[in-house]
């Protein structure tokens, strides 16, 4: 009995020590006061040398933390344990965070460099007037394909995927709006179509794609495409850029019928303590020269029109990542369709997945 008590006390003491240690660690990591700025961004999504330059110029110490999904980011900001001053959600998440009152309104007078942003990418349905967010990078949904495995086959249209020669070659992304949207686009309808007949038509068209589909997967598609497990995948352009970096046989195309236009944006969450510094940070990264350097590092598409002038020509003229104006016209941002329509999209998607048996 005595031994048991001793063991019990030892465990209690140990827990107490660990608890203090954890609190200490958290305190230093999450500290964000007068002269520090806590930035919450996707992994490897900024040029750290430029962050150092920002620190030198402003005297602000940047604490940099990363997340790997919009949902994970949302949860951490909702918990409010750390005082994040800047976050980089995607556009649909901006809308959600606005609805949940998690964002601080931007003071546009403190961000003079926002005039360099391309007006095509401003004032969109997810944040009218850009009251809460400014675009950081943008991209599309398209087809990534392996030129070696397909022996030079070219893609230009969504309908090319329905080619019977591509049996069991395609990986789709496991998202209802992406897949149903692809069906809608291939028929020439809008991605935000809520007409039930059009949606039904898209569903029926998608069921005809079934023999060509190898799998419907999530983030594993990067790994699978790099390892040449499949020849074709429908992906976000950002993922495509990552895959092409790893495997030079891969190429990317935005289909001519149009596609989705997505954004990752700068926002200031309600957890922010250094709101002044946050504005400075956003303004710094919208400076054309800085933005050009950052874009070269990240290699996604920048919405900063002026920055394009400072970037290598082959990058700016790459139509895969900077589509022609005519094609850009046909790109659409996902609108918030409301729960009922969204539920219908998901029901169709579930049925489509079931149909494959």
């Amino acid at each position: 009995m005595k031994k048991l008590m001793q063991a019990f006390i030892a465990v209690l003491l140990l827990s107490a020590v660990l608890l203090t240690a954890i609190n200490r660690l958290n305190a230093t990591e999450g500290y964000s006061g007068e002269n520090t700025l806590t930035v919450f961004n996707w992994g490897d999504y900024i040029d750290m040398e430029l962050v150092e330059q920002f620190e030198e110029e402003t005297g602000i110490t940047v604490i940099y933390e990363t997340f790997d999904s919009n949902e994970a980011m949302l949860t951490k900001i909702q918990q409010g344990g750390t005082t994040y001053d800047i976050a980089v959600p995607s556009e649909y998440m901006v809308q959600k965070m606005m609805e949940e009152d998690l964002l601080v309104e931007l003071d546009h007078s403190k961000i003079p460099n926002m005039k360099y942003l391309d007006e095509r990418f401003m004032d969109l349905s997810y944040d009218p007037g850009n009251k809460y967010s400014l675009p950081y990078f943008w991209g599309t949904v398209g087809i990534v394909y392996n030129t070696k495995l397909l022996e030079g086959k070219e893609f230009s249209s969504w309908n090319d995927l329905w080619d019977p020669a591509l049996e069991n070659d395609i990986l789709l992304v496991d998202g209802a709006r992406e897949v149903i949207g692809m069906g809608l686009n291939s028929l020439g309808y809008s991605l935000n179509d809520t007409n039930r007949d059009h949606l039904q038509e898209a569903y029926e068209k998608l069921t005809k794609l079934t023999p060509n589909i190898k799998a419907i997967v999530g983030d594993e598609n990067k790994l699978l495409m790099q390892n040449e497990e499949a020849a074709i995948a429908v992906v976000w352009s950002g993922d495509a850029a990552d895959m092409m970096w790893e495997n030079e046989n891969l190429d990317y195309v935005v289909p001519e019928e149009g596609s989705n236009l997505w954004f990752d944006t700068f926002v200031i969450p309600k957890t922010a303590k250094n709101i002044e510094g946050a504005h400075q940070f956003i303004n710094f990264f919208l400076d054309p020269e800085i933005n050009a350097l950052n874009t070269e590092y990240v290699s996604y598409s920048t919405p900063n029109k002026e920055a394009l002038k400072y970037m290598p020509e082959d990058m700016v003229e790459d139509e895969r990542f900077y589509p022609s104006p005519e094609l850009t016209e046909r790109l659409e941002v996902y609108e918030n369709l409301g729960r009922e329509h969204l539920a219908y999209y998901n029901d169709l998607f579930l049925e489509f997945k079931m149909y494959r048996k």
Partner: protein, 266 residues
């Protein structure tokens, strides 16, 4: 006095059961009566009986059945051989160790093994069969699931076999029973409880598997678990997600009743 202390000791247990078993199930049932707009409805239950969900339920049961039968077929002989080995506890430990490895990690490992250029296909190539598509098939899904669940099937069967009184076997020999008769009339009935608990711990979780359906089967296999995940995370239709969960809970009670509660006669 004795009775009082016993009640006192019961408090943590009852508290636990109410907080973590009764309350969640009650909440699931409660939510299942609301539609996406938060209005009271029984429509979700009607929706469950549409072809989409019925087909999904049937396929969930079919795969869970396959996984359980194959696990059982592999586990019983393994457990039997284990009881005959010299260092049986060590061998048992070696079989259980893989179940300590994170499930996601194991799934990713199998993506590599079953891939077009993976170890399994290289082996098939060497022995002259040639490469086959292994990943994203029913075969790989059932194989990986069996691999993951098999330790949970072996353990209870091993325990049952290990507790078998050896003198009973000697007695059957003395009385002239053949090996097959011994197995059928003595060993099997006495280890049936182990088999039953094995079936419970394999069948019930495999009914609602969802991660493997995407990682290993590439969404070619759609189980009720997939639908629940989608309804809670994407559609935010908690009502429908809960309704499916209610049916899973009912199914689990049925299986428990079939395999557990019925006591064997003398």
């Amino acid at each position: 006095m004795e009775n009082k202390t016993r009640t006192l000791y019961m408090i943590p247990y009852i508290g636990w059961i109410i907080l973590f078993v009764v309350a969640p199930i009650a909440l699931v049932v409660y939510y299942s009566f609301f539609d996406i707009h938060g209005n009271f409805t029984v429509g979700n239950y009607g929706k469950f009986f549409t072809p989409v969900y019925l087909k999904m339920a049937i396929s969930s049961f079919w795969y869970a059945f396959l996984i359980t039968i194959i696990s059982l077929a592999a586990a019983y002989p393994t457990a039997y051989l284990l009881t005959k080995t010299k260092h049986k506890q060590l061998w048992l430990l070696l079989i259980i160790v893989p179940s300590w490895v994170n499930l996601l990690l194991k799934a990713y490992a199998f993506i590599g093994i079953f891939g077009a250029h993976g170890a399994a296909n290289q082996f098939l190539d060497i022995i002259g069969i040639g490469t086959k598509q292994l990943l994203f098939t029913d075969f790989s899904f059932v194989f990986v699931s069996v691999y993951i669940f098999i330790p949970f099937m072996i353990l209870p069967i091993f325990n049952a076999l290990d507790n078998l009184n050896p003198s009973l076997l000697d007695a059957t020999k003395d009385l002239g029973a053949s090996k097959w008769t011994t197995f059928r009339r003595v060993i099997l009935p006495l280890t049936l409880n182990g088999v039953k608990s094995g079936i419970q711990v394999v069948f019930i979780p495999s009914l609602s598997l969802f991660m493997l359906t995407r990682l290993i089967a590439g969404n070619r296999v759609i189980t009720l678990g997939t639908a629940i995940e989608q309804h809670f995370l994407v559609t935010q239709d908690w009502g429908m997600g809960s309704t499916i969960a209610v049916f899973l809970i009912i199914a689990m009670f049925l299986i428990m009743a079939l395999t557990g509660f019925r006591r064997r006669g003398a």
